[in-house]
Subunit: 278 residues, 3 copies
């Protein structure tokens, strides 16, 4: 048996944009359970924004780190199915990831300390009838089942030197503060930015030092201060909070901030900190 970093625990998480009204998710579950009925399946979501590699990448960075060591993660948001894109298996320090090599697995792999990438192309791992339209069933689910059953990542195929990368723009330090942008809009309409508490604490530790006052600007809006939690503000007023993942977030307590304020992916958000005159 090959040397392996990760000892699998029999859990396989599923994250797709397949929706729940058709049989696509059920078929993947059947394929995995037929290979190994002892696999334990954990649905994360099947409602990732359709065909959105950026949304999928963000979703995975938020979810995977909470799972126990040895979990296999199966993720399929695959606008390029049937084209030349490769299929990937990634081994990080504690987890194994399976999905299309289209960038969606890149950020979470980096966030977990990097990993070894393999091109999933072992013909014995692929389902008998090659299908050009449903790799979830014919390529990814069989591989996840084998990996969760203890087969080695090296058996999936050759190591990949050049996986597709996906990177969000980094916030920029400007004289008057930080310039960032919106990376994800959740189903409540909350707008998550690339401005994170951890980044500011490490790169700009005096930014929040008293007696400074913080302002957030986007579009025509200027918000004073960062609320400690969602309920703190006037329900009808936009507010800015540190979200549960550490990102600066624009929210409306009783409404959809993105829809009400005209915010979309990529909307520019500026964070300023000014000395309060005494």
């Amino acid at each position: 048996m090959d040397w392996r970093w990760v000892e699998v625990n029999g859990l396989v998480t599923l994250a797709t944009d397949f929706g729940e009204s058709d049989w696509f998710v059920g078929v993947m579950k059947g394929v995995m359970l037929r290979f190994n009925p002892d696999i334990r399946l954990v649905d994360l979501s099947h409602r990732i924004a359709p065909h959105s590699i950026a949304s999928a990448a963000y979703f995975l960075t938020q979810a995977y780190p909470y799972f126990p060591s040895g979990t296999v993660h199966l993720a399929v948001v695959d606008p390029g199915v049937g084209s030349g894109r490769r299929a990937a298996v990634v081994e990080t320090a504690h987890h194994v990831l399976v999905g299309p090599d289209n960038g969606m697995l890149w950020p979470v792999t980096q966030a977990m300390g990097g990993g070894r990438w393999f091109s999933l192309e072992n013909p014995e791992w692929l389902a008998g009838s090659a299908s050009s339209t449903f790799h979830g069933r014919d390529v990814f689910a069989p591989a996840a089942a084998r990996l969760a059953s203890g087969e080695s990542v090296e058996s999936a195929g050759p190591e990949m030197a050049d996986p597709v990368r996906f990177e969000w723009p980094r916030p920029q330090r400007k004289p008057e503060g930080w310039h960032g942008e919106v990376l994800y809009i959740d189903r409540f309409g909350n707008c998550l930015t690339n401005l994170s508490r951890a980044l500011l604490d490490s790169e700009d530790p005096d930014f929040f030092a008293a007696p400074r006052r913080v302002e957030v600007q986007f579009g025509d809006h200027l918000i004073q201060g960062i609320s400690p939690f969602y309920q703190a503000a006037d329900p009808a007023m936009p507010m800015v909070v540190w979200g549960s993942g550490g990102a600066l977030e624009i929210a409306l307590y009783e409404g959809n901030a993105a829809a009400a304020l005209g915010i979309h992916l990529g909307t520019s958000v500026r964070l300023r900190s000014r000395l309060v005159s005494e």
Copy 2:
């Protein structure tokens, strides 16, 4: 080890208003499985009406009683997250409940014969990084995992003498019959009332005795008789049935009764029983 009423069975049910498009549910699952990979998770729903304590309370009363003794139930509909509301652990005769102390756990606890309430505040049970916006991850999921793994309810924190109560209005007996109201509208638009067969049988046993005829009135509508099942009536006509949970229900066989008839939570419903002249 503390004395306990309930011997847990390793099952944890999940009921939230988090929706399925974001990572919130997946993160809670990861937190629980990382604490104990043998926990068996059962999704009840993640589409409870957002921020509706009344809908959540109704949902739980309908679902929990069917689960086996020893099940831990994790429920999060939490409009007050980050405010001063407490977190609760409840031990009933057969189950353990975990969720915000905002009233949503009260009716099902009463329906299951009452329980002991504890304030979930043991600092060792809370996730390391205190978050003000995601108690599902940092407070409730860790507690559910510990409880489902056999830790005692007493370890969660001190007993609570004054949990937040939530009670629906009781139907009123009037000279001409019973006055009730709509408590829940399901996704088909069926309108469930607080008029239950069990209540009438115990408090008004002659109400349905022949040769009486029953009428149901709401808004401008007057319905004659109670149908034995949904398909019994003209598909386009509103009808009244005894629903599967025992509640009097207003329905349209091929339509959405709430939308078509202008019914909402709290709409008054009157039930009369008249002697048929012979």
Copy 3:
């Protein structure tokens, strides 16, 4: 113990049109786990088109064959609940099916080689309180739990000689080609027809022989050729592909073909193959 074909594996799949916002699915899970906490539940979908026996039947034919031998499949799309329709248990060569006898189980049973049908009417198998409106809880879930725990199909009730059949129209061979129709529209708006690659290969093996050119006609549209995969065509142009289940499928790469092209269940689709003049 009775002689049985299938040795069950403890898995029960669930497929319904109950949606996820109410407690109906959770209650069925509770009923099964209370009977046997070791049952392993697998959600396929709870968003089958409401009350659509045709959609349910199609869904099951696509999903069930991928599951391991010994799986019990619980399916409830039941517009006739409370009427006289029977409840069915079917044993195929490898699986056990439980659901209403309304035709929805017929096509998948035939596709898996036929089966023995039983009328689910053993009073010991039904929940104590007979309900006229929720057979999922009172009839089907208890039966699925017993079957997945090893009770025999014969114990469910007497064998049924005349289960309700449901059959899609077969494609017709005409002088100029094949006439078929749309059987299912998935959530992306892709339109799946009864024209399958397997049918043409077996009944009309020269149909695709070079130097022939294939055309597909529906409504006012005429499509030249069959694309190898979804991404092959101009994103704004309708295309025809062999779908992952082997059916001829009408799709728009970046859109909803059914909505954009006015296609619905039953829309006629014609497939022609013409000699290319050289």
